[in-house]
Symmetry: C2
């Protein structure tokens, strides 16, 4: 017997038939003797419709009212799922965020979970009842409904798993696990049986959108074992191999790959600030105003100085580029640069793996592989378990395929 949190995303509960299908899946876990809590998203399409209504009434809508409106999507699914479970003879009841309660801060629209009182849910679990919790929502300090931001139901599920001391948090989605890279680009991509929290975080942050980044951070902090799996195939996690990908502590992964996955992101832009005086404080003069404008800068490279001036290159989200140009233009006098060069046609390619910590040569394999294919590297950045390069966006698929082969990841 185990205690499990099962989370179902919007496509998994898109209509009454899918809700019935999910209810049958939950029943299997209950019948196997497990204590099960369920977390649900809104039915696919619902959240978009509710958001559109708010936006159409006012581009500058009150985020507190937005939350009150948008949170109803998950409440509907939770009630319907409870009815579907009861119909199968499973003792179930729905819980809205304020009923649990799942307490958050007051950052409406992107609230952070502060505490979950799991006592009542625990009593229900132990009495054989299945709590069906509306994901994505909580209650703020002023007793108003809050939401956790897009993908927030993942975070609800992980936080609930931590509060309930669950053995596992199963995230059912429309993909059946985490792959060594995007299978749409590399047909021979392999599903990973296990991946470390840190790897999942790096992959999520470079565009592999299987789990909300915050949910992985929380899982790592609370040591919640997260399993990503599909609600669309009929495999079951009962007995035998787990069908999805388990996101776990690095220590649980015995056979560590040096590289676990290749990720890419095309949502990048590159900015080069030319001819800035090479003196202390110039980086602060550039990045201070960007930070004040809430623009996240990713990779940064400073060229070797010549004739007392230097060039500074950095990357940022492509959507932020217009605001970044405007901000730097407004601070041109203080920074004292010659010109700005921008490039939207760039992609970031990353190789990720906790095995890098104990293996050298990962970066040089990457550089050599790209060179062989004639791909020019524009910027490089590294972390303990990741090497990222910025390249011309045209070469994205070529680079991903070449690296997938070079690191021995092909199935």
């Amino acid at each position: 017997m185990a205690r499990i949190v099962m989370k179902f995303g919007g496509t998994s509960v898109a209509d009454l038939d899918r809700i019935r299908h999910v209810a049958a899946r939950v029943k299997r876990e209950v019948d196997a003797g497990n204590e099960v809590a369920v977390v649900v998203s809104a039915m696919a399409g619902t959240t978009n419709r509710l958001v559109a209504w708010c936006t159409q009434l006012s581009a500058l809508y009150d985020a507190r009212e937005y939350d009150a409106v948008v949170a109803t999507g998950e409440q509907v699914t939770a009630g319907l799922m409870a009815i579907a479970l009861q119909t199968l003879g499973v003792n179930a009841r729905s819980w809205q965020g304020w009923q649990v309660p799942l307490a958050t801060d007051d950052a409406h629209g992107r609230a952070r979970i502060e505490a979950i009182d799991g006592a009542e849910l625990m009593r229900r679990l132990q009495s054989g009842q299945v709590p069906v919790v509306a994901g994505f929502q909580g209650i703020g300090p002023d007793r108003r409904v809050t939401t956790l931001g897009r993908g927030g139901s993942d975070t609800s599920a992980v936080a609930l798993a931590a509060a309930l001391g669950a053995e596992r948090c199963d995230i059912y989605t429309d993909v059946d696990g985490v792959y060594t890279t995007d299978p749409r680009i590399v047909a021979r991509a392999r599903k990973l049986a296990k991946i470390a929290y840190e790897e999942m975080l790096e992959l999520a942050s470079v565009g592999a959108k299987v789990l909300q980044t915050r949910s992985v951070e929380l899982a790592m902090k609370e040591r919640v074992r997260v399993q990503v799996l599909s609600s669309f195939d009929d495999g079951t996690s009962l007995g035998g191999d787990l069908p999805g990908t388990l996101v776990v502590d690095e220590d649980e992964i015995v056979e560590k790959e040096i590289v676990s996955g290749i990720a890419y992101s095309r949502d990048e832009a590159k900015v080069t600030v030319r001819g800035v005086p090479d003196r202390p404080g110039v980086a602060a003069a550039i990045f201070g105003p960007l930070s004040a404008a809430a623009i996240n800068v990713d990779m940064i490279v400073q060229n070797v100085s010549a004739d007392g001036t230097t060039d500074l290159t950095f990357t940022l989200g492509r959507a932020d580029l217009p605001r970044a140009e405007k901000t730097l233009g407004e601070h041109r006098a203080e920074i004292g640069f010659l010109s700005l060069l921008t490039d939207r046609e760039v992609a970031k390619i990353s190789v990720v793996g906790v095995g890098m910590r104990s293996h050298s040569g990962v970066a040089s394999t990457m550089f050599r592989t790209l060179a062989t294919k004639g791909i020019n590297i524009q910027v490089i950045s590294t972390s303990e378990i990741k090497v990222s390069v910025l390249i011309d966006a045209e070469y994205t698929e070529l680079a991903v395929r070449a690296l997938h082969t070079a690191y021995g990841l092909d199935a």
Copy 2:
């Protein structure tokens, strides 16, 4: 300056344009210096869709989950209305039933309001904020969401008006007031400027579905002045005549009409129990089992006895007829009747007016008028302010028109 509760039904908030229109109407009352609280229904069609989902998952759905699902409709409207009001520069915020709180009993799906804590809303009103309250819903003793039954938002509004000591509760709907009879039948029907609570109750109970019956009972008990008016015309209640119908205490109506209105109901059925022994206890033997089966009996007539047996005739809601036949059949031995006659093709016609209390001849005018038109009266029942007759359904329109003229109600 007055304190007003404004309630808007589903057709009045059916889409974003209508919500904007309603917001402008609320703003007019605010700009006139009034303290305004708003109660909203779900956008037209929403409740039906949510109910259908519950029903499709299970004909025997859990009423507590049904309530959690269905109550979201009003929550969406409340949030959107708050945004629409803010867009017009009106300080507004939404309130869900549990936030007010609006406490009910635990009869999920048809809960009764037990208490409203108006203290916080009162503070908001006095600070110039417009509370937008989700109608139709409350919170039960077990802290779960409850709903008040179809039309329950009327009752929410009246209860809120009582809790806030409001001067008036304006019910905006798709009709512009209460008429002397159904204008679809009598083109010369007149809108009533005022009607007494008791009259409104009698009219509501015989099929004039302008207000939920319970909301009128509550208004009468709490002495809340209710105004029924249309959200679709552009008249305003500011200055000059009130455009709708005011439902008030009888004492406020100076020029009392003897008859205020003619109502009809076609949702009736008649049952005659033939040849029952004429002895004490036989009525109890018939109506006891019907009451136990939760079947409401309306009019009752017992014939004069002949040869030791008698006939008993009664009316009930047409939808209950099959269950009534079954119930009486099961108790045939105890009752000892000869046969059952049923008739679905009957209609109940009622003349209503508080003036009847001090005027005689109202009933005889009714009987004479119907006789002149050749309409046979099958059953008669009277109350202090109402005379009802059961007739062949074919004569419904003829009877209503003749009575409307006979009592001098034609415009």
